[in-house]
Amino acid sequence: MTWDLLLDLFAAQFGLWWVILPGILLGIVVGILPGFSPQNTLIMLLPLTLAVPVEQAFAFMVALYCANHLSGGVPAILVRIPGSGGAAATTLDGYPMTQKGQAQQALVLSFVASVFGGLITTLATLALLPWLSQIGLVLRSVEMVVVLLFGLTLIAVIAAKDTLKGLIAGFFGLLIGVIGTDHIYNAPRATFGFLELYDGVPIVAALIGLFAVSEALVMIEEKLIVAAEGRERAMRSNWSETLEGLRISLQKWWHIVWTAFVGLLIGVVPGAGASIAAFVAYQQSRMWSKHPELYGTGIPEGVIAPESANNGVTSGTLVPMMALGVPGGTTSAVMMIVLQYHGMVMGPQLFTTSPGLAYGVFVSMAVAYVFMIFTILPLARYMSRIVLIETTYLAPIIILVTIVAAFSERQYLFDMGLALVFGVIGYIAHKTNYHVTAMLIGIILGPLFERYLVRALRISEGDLMVLFSSTLGNTLWGLLVLSLALPFWRTWRQRKALAAERFGNES
């Protein structure tokens, strides 16, 4: 790739502003509404994207996809309902910031981290594309089993205050994720006799139930989402809160950069996705922090890390599709259909036969991020006002409207009932600290985990020891055990220090 080509591509993409802006606005709306996924929106818009020239179609799809990743954090921060699985980690510190009356600041932090995280990793992808495309090839089914278990364990350990409760919630979710027919014989498993469960548990119904419905049932207890001490600040928040958010974001620029790269590396692995990336970045951020005990109480780093990482994933997910012809997720699969319809053959040859289009996709992404910051930043002040609506109105609207949205994924009334069931389970989990995030991620990873596990076991003719047969896999197992043991070791050390202190005071 030459500098001339790159500059031409940037100029051409800026010229497509009239396609990118509607894509961004639609992506923001779709991301905010739980139940609306970018892939479903792109499928509905296929008649449009197939009809226009491929460059315009791709600029639109990429803008929608990136804006969707960015705006999933908005409901996560304001009402603890992530717009998508990738924003689940944002609830951990974003919502406590809202409760403290800092919703506007949290939104600005999330927008800046998302945009710059996405932008930096997109530019890095352009430069490192040949090397990044190899990562997906290194990980085989055995390693993927450990990667997915590692991700789930991290989430259980991070999200829940009680590791054991987090693990129970995570594995409960993982087992729910196995509901449906198996991949080889199409034999139904644990479907309770419902035909609607043969395809597995719909993720949107689970997301809406576990987060939206359960949260609305919990918020009934209070008059406002914002805690009493933060109300005054939330009510008199003005543009200075946006500026303060910008200042903090600039101050923490390095945090944005390195967590975005965590997202990029995880995004390159097919199937791993934004939810794992966001949690790994959050965990790493907490691990390297000078004040890990403040995570979960509403601190800027706790919003920046997951948001930057889940936008770092956007360019990473497209790498296997462009370089290997393997879509990294459902959205990229829809994009691939559009490209193939226009006669493009994915894979390494794309960079020699159509370099303008191959690199243009990432340039388009970079340009979309530039447009995005100017589009969404001014909206933070107005979006944050939603938390001042009384729960008397907010709770019924959230429950009924999101239950309606549960219908949108598969168009079954059954899914609305299922969302309500998940809502009740989520409410019990909320009240007893079995973290719903771990449960949801388990449900998302369930089918993927099964695919890799069965593939590995078929290769070894059913021998479980295959899971310990590779050096990389064993290293990952070691890290998994370490991540499980570390919290217990920390608690033991704290208890020991406390006991020593008490003993010192008594003597």
Partner: protein, 168 residues
């Protein structure tokens, strides 16, 4: 100084048992449902189920130890407290069940309008103008988004049929 173990200061551990009980029940049902399947179809479920049951066993032992020490009892108070919110919660869940059941007959817009009216009443809104304004606003927005724009396959009722007749 020994910890206060009077009944009022004991932790309500009964609530902590609900999710493990649900998970355990589901795992057992899962094992029954896969009993006759080929190993490829059940390997994953067995592996996850066994780990889940082991984790639940550890949790039960942990809770048992706390109960034996007198640190808690089997109350499940966190699930129904505060009491004044409990009836609102039950009302909202019951209303949602009725909403889903009525949807095929009344269509999305009318069912949502009536459900919103009832839900706001359950939540304590008494002012008629507010009830009507909020409910009709939500129903109209849902109609515009789901029926008019996205053409979702929601059941059509009298309002959808009337509007379709007017605009076609």
């Amino acid at each position: 100084m020994s910890p206060d173990r009077s009944p009022l200061n004991r932790a309500p551990l009964g609530a902590d048992l609900v999710i493990p009980a649900l998970a355990l029940g589901f795992a057992i049902y899962f094992f029954f449902s896969i009993a006759d399947l080929a190993w490829e179809a059940k390997a994953n479920g067995v592996l996850i189920g066994v780990v889940l049951i082991a984790l639940i066993a550890v949790q039960l032992v942990r809770l048992g130890i706390r109960l034996a020490r007198g640190e808690g009892d089997l109350r499940a108070d966190p699930l129904w407290q505060p009491r004044d919110a409990l009836w609102k919660r039950i009302g909202m869940v019951a209303l949602t069940v009725v909403f889903i059941a009525a949807l095929p007959w009344l269509g999305l817009t009318l069912t949502l309008l009536l459900a919103m009216l009832a839900a706001l009443r359950v939540m304590g809104v008494r002012k008629l103008s507010t009830l009507l304004w909020v409910s009709s606003g939500v129903a109209a927005a849902a109609y515009l988004l789901f029926i008019a724009t996205l053409e979702s396959a929601f059941p059509h009722g009298p309002i959808e049929r009337l509007l379709a007749a007017l605009f076609t």
